[in-house]
């Protein structure tokens, strides 16, 4: 990298969109120079409010994000968006189409939208999502909205990234709601029944309510909001529900410690750290495996058992550190 990382970080933090976008690219591509810049940006993060949006494919997540951008902009807030779509496991390529719904904000200087592909990462986000969120946070975006892949079941990663997780469902899913409830109700801080212009919205709300009831009375309260994202109906109620969630969080379970750190924030830091360690170890593992092809052959030929081989690889990895 030609530039001094500190100087580049400074430029990005003071709003250089082009430099920021390129850094995001380098983070996504795992370019070595990007980490040096992140080290300078990290102290500037932690100010923005990170909001996660997840839910079934086509439920209207991007349209909800689009409507929320309008609302937050009207309130004078600057908004960053990270929208994740799946990478095809067959081609390695991806069509990143979430942006289509948000393009009316493309030239608004108070809005920065970035699309990412999962690149094989599981959990509904890309490996780089947390880092890209951090860049937007360091740039001073007041709200950073993360839209997960619409995989339906295990977009649980959003919980570790976001301060508030909004789960978007639609009417008429019937049994599908049953199927997703386990994963999704557990992570929802706010539930949305979008496409409420369609038949069955009342029933969807009732079903979700009944499922929330089953969680017992000491479970955290979860509000259910009806929206029609295409017209913006219900979006202000959604924003209020999100605000109320934040207030509850701050006043109830999420009491800051002596250093001013809330448990939720600490959990996020731990998740980020864990993710980075796992990622480094995974890459070290791939490297160790590539360096010792004979071990793989031996395990395949049953001349070495996989446990012994695994121990040996772990020794090789830790010795090389």
């Amino acid at each position: 990298m030609a530039n001094d990382p500190a100087e580049l970080a400074e430029r990005i933090a003071s709003g250089d969109v082009r430099a920021a976008a390129r850094l995001m690219r380098d983070l996504d591509d795992i370019r070595p120079g990007a980490i040096a810049v992140m080290k300078h940006l990290y102290p500037r993060t932690g100010r923005g409010f990170v909001l996660g949006i997840t839910g079934n494919p086509g439920a209207g997540k991007s349209t909800v994000v689009d409507a929320l951008i309008s609302l937050y902009r009207a309130a004078g807030k600057r908004v960053g968006v990270v929208a994740v779509d799946p990478t095809s496991p067959f081609s390695g390529g991806a069509i990143l189409g979430d942006r289509i719904r948000m393009q009316r904000h493309a030239t608004d200087e108070g809005v920065f939208i970035r699309s990412l592909a999962t690149r094989g990462h599981l959990g509904g986000l890309s490996r780089s999502t947390g880092e890209v969120v951090a860049v937007l946070d360091a740039m001073g975006y007041d709200v950073v909205i993360v839209e997960t892949v619409g995989v339906g079941q295990d977009e649980v990663d959003v919980v570790s990234q976001a301060e508030c997780a909004v789960v978007v469902t639609v009417p008429g899913m019937g049994d599908e709601i049953q199927a997703i409830k386990a994963g999704i109700l557990e992570i929802a801080d706010v539930l949305v029944v979008n496409k409420s212009d369609r038949e069955g919205a009342d029933r969807a709300v009732r079903d979700l309510f009944a499922m929330l009831e089953l969680r017992g009375h000491d479970a955290a309260p979860v509000e259910i909001v009806r929206t029609v994202a295409t017209s913006g109906k219900g979006i202000d109620e959604l924003a209020h529900a999100i605000d109320r969630f934040r207030e509850r969080g701050i006043h109830a379970s999420d009491v800051p410690n002596a250093g001013g750190i809330t448990p939720r924030r600490r959990r996020r830091a731990q998740a980020t750290l864990r993710e980075l360690v796992v990622d480094r170890l995974r890459r070290a593992t791939d490297g160790a495996l590539a360096a010792r092809p004979e071990l793989v052959d031996e395990v395949a030929a049953r001349t070495t058992d996989p446990y012994t081989a695994a121990d040996e690889l772990v020794r090789a990895i830790t010795a090389s550190k």
Binding site: R25, S88, Q103, D286
Partner: protein
Amino acid sequence: MTSQRKLRILVAKPGLDGHDRGAKVVARALSDAGYEVVYTGLHQTPEMIAAAAVQESVDAVGLSIMSGAHMTLFPAVIEALRARGAGDVLVFGGGIVPDEDLAPLKTAGVAQVFKPGASTEEIIKWVETHVRPRAEAG
């Protein structure tokens, strides 16, 4: 570290015509070829396209123009990219473009134009040889 520089390409439809079939076919083909394609949909102004190209830090912008307005739209997008400091982003595209317009478009900075009937293999081969990952941050 295992670094994976992957091409990112923005596919957009500037102008007012609603012919999005070609754009979608090309977007799908590029994704099937292993590229990351940001698709921004119909009715994009040059400003919207350039802003998206910068935020998405793409290597190239592919425009689909079936309305006959290619002589104004292609240069307008190139100009908007330059104005945002992204003049290094390659601009190419396709659509209904008469042969006599091909040379002036090239002079205006359009890297390549694919006409109706162009095969997706041809397009991918061209992208493979002409689109390179942009410089890193800095």
